[in-house]
Amino acid sequence: MNIQDYAIRLSQYRTQEGYTFDCQTMSGDVEVLQIEMNEVEGFPVFLTQTNNQIICIVYLWSEDEIKQEKRLEMLEMMLDTSISIPLSAYARVGNRFVLYGALSVASSLDKVVEEIVTLNENAIDVITAMEEFLD
């Protein structure tokens, strides 16, 4: 499936919990899909595809939003907690901290949906838990 296919199929999807999705494609050097979960006030999830991976990303915060004196503590806490967070992991892209999940490009739609939902829910937890490190 390509990004367009995902846009269509996700828009038609309804999870067991009743979650539905709104999708918007963005074009640039690479195609990106912006996914909003309708029943959850969390984050837009951005989906992109490489040769053999699907990557779902949530942008948490930038370097300049971090309390400088607490930065090292924050970084260590991220490392310490990364493994506890189901399916998702922390990363830094440029100067932005993200939470992301990666799947094989051959994954079923169900698995991709699970990734998106979990990622969004995780991100909500992360940002509320890490608030103390942010300005």
Binding site: G28, D29, V32, T48, Q49, T50, I57, Y59, G94, I124
Partner: protein, 234 residues
Amino acid sequence: MNILKKIMTAIRGGTRELGESIVDSQGTRIFEQEIEDAKESLKNAKGDLTQVMAKEMQATRKVESMQKEIEKHEGFVSDALAKGEEKLALEIAGKVAEIEQEKALQVEAQLSYAKHIDKLKSMMEKAERQLKDYERQLTMVKTTENVQKATATITDNFGSTDSTLLSAKESLERIREKQQDFDDRNLAAEKLDNETNGKDLSDKMKDVGIGEIESGAQAVLDRLKAKNAKGKPA
């Protein structure tokens, strides 16, 4: 070539600006070429392997059929001897010897092919491992490039003025608002529930003394008296 090390070098060198390739595209292209070459070699090796396997099977079949011929002719020798045909028996025995020699050659060939097959398989496994590793490393490069470019696409789309979607503060506010909204709506839903079930209203009526109230004996009596009075013919 340790790609991850190259990525680390590039990061240290400050080429983490969005939109810039983490590993120079020249390097990536060479890498991709190496992968293509490796795949081509594997394809050829598989072709060779198929051929040698076919030859090995042929040799095995020949060995088997020759063995049958040998056994058949050995039988003839016995028959000839039984009939006292010494000279004939010798001739047939000669034939057996011939076939045995040919068989020996085929067995040698078969063993040689089998050895070749093992060698080819082992080479191919090594090549597959190498290829898999190249592809894994290429994935690292492609993923890094892709995520950088995707991030650039996203931040461009949101611009510098409308970066609220990517700001932590805004996200927290939004989440809190929604949670408050959610709580408010729960409260309202409860209230509505009470109203539509008539609970709210029935409480009000009860206070004033009307509606489905628990009847005391007097109330029942009064009610029935009133009913009887109504029912009396004029």
